[in-house]
Symmetry: C2
Subunit: 339 residues, 2 copies
C-alpha cells in the first residue's frame, strides 16, 4: 500500500462533499490525486483543493479505475449503483448514504466506538446517520459506567442535514419573512423561518419517521446491542449546521454519579465537555459548528428514574455527523496499514 492515496469523492459539490475537501486540507490527508465526481448536472463545476482548481467529472462506472479510497455522498441510489463498480476497481468505499448501513455484511462505523467491526479485507464501509453518530458520541462512552438499558432522545436538527439547498432556503426564507414578505417553502415541505417541524421523512406503520428509525436501528448495530431500547423523536429546528440532542440514558442497576459521567467524557476521544452550570454555558450549535468534537453537557441525574442520567449533546452535522467521521474511518484504516 502506498502512503499517498488516489482519492475520489462522489457528490463533491454537495454540503458534505465540500467538507471532504476542507478536511483533506486541514488534516493533511495523504492525497496523491483527487478525483471529484458528481451527476451530469454538476459535472464541469470547478472546485478548489490546495489552491488549485479541480474540475468535477461526471460519474461513470469506470470512474474508479486506479482509485484507492472513494468517499460516497450522493444519496442511496447512486451508492447502490456505483459502489459495486468502485469495489470491483479495487477501491475502498466509505459510503455516507443509507444504502448499505443495515446490510449485515457491511460494517457501520463510528471509529471511536466500533472500528474493530471492520473485518479483514472488508472494503465497503458504511458511515452512519448523522443523528445516530452524534447521539452515540454521548451515549457509547457511558457503557464504561454500567449496562445501558434504554435511551430516550429528542433531536433539534439543523438545515444542513437536508443539504446545502436547505441551508440556503432557511436563510433566504428568513430574509423574506423579516422583510415582511411571504415564506415560500421549496426544498422543505413546511415554512422553516422561525418555525420547526417533525423530521420530513416518511412515517412507518409504527408512527416513526425514517430518521427516527435510523437512529434506533443504526445505533443498535453500531453498539452491538441489537435489543437496546431506544425512543427517538426527530425534529428540524431553524439552525444552520449543528444537530442538538436531549438524551436520557437508563442503566441497569444504580445510575453513575455526575462526576463519574464527567470523568468518562473527559477521557473520551472526540467529545468535549461543556457543562458550566454557574455561567449557564452548555453545548450550543453555534459553538459546535466547524468543530470536529461533539459537545456534551447538562449532565445530571434524572430525578424521575432511579438509574438514569440526562445530558445534552451537540455536534456538527456536516463534520462528525458526516464527512469527518468518514475521513476518520479512512485515517484509522491507514494507520492500521489496512488501506
Amino acid at each position: 500500500m502506498s502512503s499517498q492515496y488516489h482519492v475520489a469523492v462522489l457528490g463533491a459539490t454537495g454540503a458534505v462533499g465540500q467538507e471532504f475537501l476542507s478536511l483533506f486540507e486541514s488534516r493533511d490527508f495523504p492525497v496523491r490525486s483527487l478525483k471529484l465526481l458528481a451527476s451530469a448536472r454538476s459535472a464541469g463545476t470547478q472546485m478548489r483543493f490546495k489552491g488549485e482548481a479541480v474540475v468535477v467529472e461526471e460519474i461513470k462506472p469506470e470512474s474508479f479505475e486506479g482509485i484507492d479510497v472513494a468517499f460516497f455522498s450522493a444519496g442511496a441510489s447512486r451508492s447502490k449503483e456505483y459502489a459495486p463498480h468502485a469495489l470491483r476497481a479495487g477501491a475502498t468505499v466509505i459510503d455516507n448514504s443509507s444504502a448499505f448501513r443495515m446490510d449485515p455484511s457491511v460494517p457501520l462505523v463510528v471509529p471511536e466506538i466500533n472500528f474493530d467491526s471492520i473485518g479483514e479485507g472488508q472494503r465497503l464501509i458504511a458511515n452512519p446517520n448523522c443523528s445516530a453518530i452524534i447521539m452515540l458520541m454521548g451515549v457509547a462512552p457511558l457503557r464504561k459506567l454500567g449496562k445501558i438499558e434504554r435511551v430516550i432522545v429528542s433531536t433539534y436538527q439543523s438545515a444542513s442535514g437536508a443539504g446545502a439547498s436547505a441551508m440556503r432556503e432557511l436563510e433566504e426564507q428568513t430574509k423574506a419573512v423579516l422583510a415582511g414578505k411571504p415564506a415560500e417553502p421549496k426544498v422543505m415541505p413546511h415554512v422553516y423561518a422561525f418555525n420547526l417541524f417533525s423530521h420530513n421523512t416518511a412515517i412507518n406503520e409504527y408512527g416513526y419517521n425514517d430518521e427516527e428509525w435510523k437512529v434506533i436501528h443504526e445505533s443498535r448495530k453500531i453498539l452491538g446491542m441489537p435489543d437496546l431500547r431506544i425512543n427517538a423523536t426527530c425534529v428540524r429546528v431553524p439552525v444552520l449546521r449543528a444537530h442538538s440532542e436531549s438524551i436520557t440514558v437508563e442503566f441497569q442497576g444504580p445510575a453513575p454519579t455526575e462526576d463519574e459521567v464527567r470523568r468518562v467524557f473527559l477521557e473520551s476521544e472526540g467529545v468535549r465537555l461543556v457543562d458550566d452550570r454557574e455561567n449557564n454555558v452548555f453545548p450550543m450549535p453555534l459553538d459546535a459548528s466547524g468543530q470536529g468534537d461533539v459537545l456534551v453537557g447538562r449532565i445530571r441525574r434524572d430525578l424521575s428514574h432511579p438509574s438514569a442520567i440526562s445530558l445534552f449533546v451537540v455536534g456538527d452535522q456536516l463534520l462528525k455527523g458526516a464527512a469527518l467521521n468518514a475521513v476518520q474511518i479512512a485515517e484509522k484504516l491507514m494507520a492500521a496499514g489496512r488501506l
Copy 2:
C-alpha cells in the same frame, strides 16, 4: 355581582399584557372599565382597546380601588408587592408570575384540568408556567386511559417566553447575521439567531434550571399528583412565539392504543389533534401561533417501553401559555357566579 367588570391589567405594555387586551376584545370579555397599569417607566404609554386610547397608569398601592378582577403580568416581585393591595381592595387577582404558584394556600390553575381546586372565596389564583400548561394540555387528558407514572419532556421554547424584547432581539439579530454583521446578545445571554441554548435560568444543586423545576413541581401541583415522576429538559429555540414539547408518558399497566389516545384528545377541550402521518403534518409553532388551542400530534407507542406513548405538543406561549389561560380562569369564575 355585576355582569360587567372593572378590570385592571398590571404589566399591560409587555408581550403578555398586550395579549390580554386582544383577548378581551376577541372573546367579548365583559369589561365595564379597563385600567392599564405598569411601572413608572411605561406609564403614559397609550394603548388601544375597542378603538379607544387607554393611557397606562403608574402602579400604586391604591390602584385597585373599585377593581373586580386584576390580571398581573409584571414579574414575581411586583406581584408580591401589589397582590396584597389588590386583594385588600376586594379584587380577584389572577397572577401570571411565579410569586405564589407553589404557595399551598394558592390554587394553581389550568381551567380544563383543575378549576375545582379554587376554593370558595379564594381570590388569589396563580397562572402556571407556560411550559407546564402546554405540556399538561397534552398529558392531563391521558389520565382517563390509565395511571400515569412518569413523564419525560424536552422543550423547544420560543423567544416570547422571555418577553417582547427577546422577540425583537431574535428578529434584529437574525437580520444582522443575514447581512453579515455580528450578532450582539443583549436581552439573551447567548447568540439567538440560528442557534439554540439551554433555558437561561439559574441551575440548582441537582443540575436543573428554574424552568425545568417549575415544569416538574407546578405540574405535580396542578395534577394533584405530588409524587409524579417528571424528567424535564428546557431549551430555547429561534422561534418567535409558540412552545413545542416532545413528550413521553409512561403508564402503570399496559399502554393505551394510538386510537384510544386520539379519541381522548378529540374529546378534550382546548386541544386540537394534528396528526397526519401520510402528509407529514404535525403540530408546528407557526400553526399554533395566535391559536387558543394547543396542537397535539405524533401520537405513537414508545417502542422502548411496554407501557409508554410519545407525542408532540405545541401551544402559543402568550395565549394558552399565559394570557388566555388567565382569562379562561376569570371567565369560568364568572360562569360559576363566583366573580
